[in-house]
């Protein structure tokens, strides 16, 4: 594929995104919730597209296709377990949303700090999130690097791809905070879903239609249609990789923060259902790409080049290949800019805001904007290390965030939980995950995410039972949420009854 075509694709995408980002501005934002949460007024459709774009990144189209190429259908199961885990939003979404509206939380860690009545909780979770999410952003940047290098046979280098993604992520975050991020995300998600679906249909058509496609897999690569298949997806591996992703919608603040943003419960519903619809299509497309590469390019050394190889293949018209490639670059950027914003808000609100008493909103915002490029450059440095398989590294990062899950569940459902319980569980199990990853240890064949979650649950419960809970705050918080949950669902039912009675 010619380099000039690719450059033109990137330029057109950049100009269109900058234009949309510029349009998305709504006056000068001086508050934290204005800049980082869109004033809690985001509608369902944009929220759904942006949630999809933030979650599904370069990892999806490059890493998941690579994972399918390497181990077969287990990759679909892995992604579907994550997908099923998003059901957590149906239970926690309204609770986050109610709490955010009532107490004015900007970040999930701020909520935990307040609920457990201890600032150190917010500081610790914010710092541990940064430690784990910066490598995760690096994974996305590396995705762009692999992609452009693979598509151009080295014509555009890995480093050039990574630099483009880093710069655009910083720019999109800066223009209007979450508003520009969400609108550019939406452009990317729409472009991606249409173009990638067309590509997969063309390839399957080229490989003999649905029956020819699966017939070829069944005849020549039967292992690819079962688990453990060729051995890659042993049950221990499957469990280790899926557990952190099952809780992704709670543990990763760049998505859990989204539960504060919708304008109403109806918008929250739109975000959840819209995401599930998009997610299923994305998942199927990525897995089918991986299968196509198994048929067309057996014997690739690095599974992460499965996607670039497909896009350069004879079945995909060059212009469509370019559109998808640009959409994948955009996907990485849409994930990184959301993470940048979230990390900046965590640092400004939870670390800086708690360290220095009586800091104004505008000062916090200025600090947030200042740290964004610094975080981006750190992610860039990680990406330059060019670590091997994208998906595995990505899972390792999310494993580290999984340790906050017991504390998040306890926020709403266990009044007996204590700040000491949260601090001990997050700090000790976070370190445990780091150690296991550092020394590549897998006790009993299980990965760091499983051990991290197990140990953090035990510590959270055990230490909480031995220490004094914040009785007053817990009672007030949990009672408020429970009462409002009942009230909002009851009023919905009443509204429906009235509608029926009026004969609408």
């Amino acid at each position: 594929m010619s380099n000039s075509l690719i450059w033109w694709g990137i330029i057109i995408y950049t100009v269109a995104s900058l234009f949309i980002a510029y349009l998305s501005r709504s006056g000068k934002e001086v508050s934290m919730s204005g800049y980082f949460l869109g004033n809690r007024k985001m509608n369902g459709f944009v929220s759904a597209l942006s949630y999809s774009a933030t979650t599904y990144s370069a990892f999806m189209m490059v890493g998941l296709a690579g994972l399918t190429y390497r181990g077969g259908v287990g990759a679909l199961g892995f992604e579907i377990i994550y997908f099923a885990g998003v059901t957590l939003v149906a239970f926690f979404g309204p609770r986050f949303w109610l709490a955010g509206n009532k107490y004015g939380y900007v970040t999930p860690s701020e909520m935990l700090g307040d609920r457990y009545d201890n600032k150190l909780v917010a500081v610790l979770i914010a710092i541990s999130t940064c430690i784990f999410l910066i490598p995760y952003s690096a994974v996305q940047l590396a995705g762009v690097g692999y992609l452009v290098e693979g598509m151009t046979n080295g014509g555009i280098s890995f480093t050039t791809g990574v630099i483009i993604a880093t710069v655009l992520a910083i720019v999109f975050s800066f223009i209007a905070g979450i508003r520009s991020v969400m609108w550019t995300d939406s452009l990317q998600a729409l472009m991606m879903i249409v173009a990638s679906t067309v590509v997969v249909l063309l390839i399957i058509q080229g490989l003999g239609g649905f029956s020819g496609f699966f017939g070829s897999l069944e005849a020549n690569y039967p292992d690819s249609l079962t688990v453990p298949g060729n051995g890659y997806w042993s049950f221990a591996t499957f469990l280790s990789m899926t557990v952190p992703w099952l809780f992704f919608s709670l543990s990763n603040p760049q998505v859990s923060q989204r539960m504060f943003m919708p304008s109403s419960l109806k918008s929250l519903r739109g975000m959840l259902l819209g995401f599930l619809g998009f997610g299923l299509v994305y998942t199927l497309v990525s897995v089918l790409w991986g299968f196509s590469a198994v048929i067309m390019f057996p014997g690739l050394e690095n599974p992460d080049v499965a996607t670039p190889s497909l896009l350069s293949s004879e079945f995909v018209p060059p212009v469509l290949g370019i559109i998808v490639m640009v959409a994948i670059i955009a996907a990485a950027i849409s994930t990184i800019d959301s993470i940048l914003l979230t990390l900046a808000s965590l640092f400004a609100r939870d670390v800086y805001g708690n360290m220095k008493p009586n800091v104004s909103e505008s000062r916090q915002l200025a600090i947030g904007k200042f740290v964004m490029p610094i975080i981006a450059i750190m992610a860039f440095a990680f990406a330059e290390l060019q670590l091997d398989l994208i998906a595995v590294l990505s899972v390792a990062s999310s494993a580290g965030l999984t340790v906050t899950v017991p504390a998040i569940i306890g926020t709403f459902f266990w009044k007996r939980g204590t700040a000491t319980g949260v601090i001990t569980s997050v700090a000790v199990s976070g370190l445990l995950v780091l150690m296991l990853e550092l020394f590549t240890l897998k006790p009993y064949g299980l990965g760091s995410g499983v051990w991290g979650l197990l140990v953090s649950t035990l510590l959270f419960v055990g230490v909480s039972l031995l220490t004094k809970p914040p009785v007053e705050k817990a009672e007030e918080f949990v009672t408020y949420i429970n009462t409002e949950m009942k009230k909002s669902l009851k009023s919905s039912k009443n509204a429906k009854r009235e509608t029926v009675n009026k004969g609408y």
Partner: protein, 60 residues
């Protein structure tokens, strides 16, 4: 948590557990599109339906 939420919470957990168990037991030798591939796609649709039901009363 209301009774309705608990019920759908349990149903979701069962569906997720089945998504782990069935491919590694009954389908390990079914090397066809209607094996694990179809099962996991089916799970995705069931999950969408569950979410539709849980959130059906969410209004503005």
């Amino acid at each position: 948590m209301g009774k309705r939420e608990v019920f759908w919470g349990v149903v979701s957990c069962i569906v997720i557990l089945l998504a782990y168990i069935i491919p590694y037991t009954f389908l390990t030798n079914v090397a066809n599109w209607y094996g694990s591939f179809l099962l996991w796609v089916g799970v995705a649709f069931v999950i969408i339906i569950i979410n539709l039901i849980i959130t059906k009363d969410w209004r503005s």
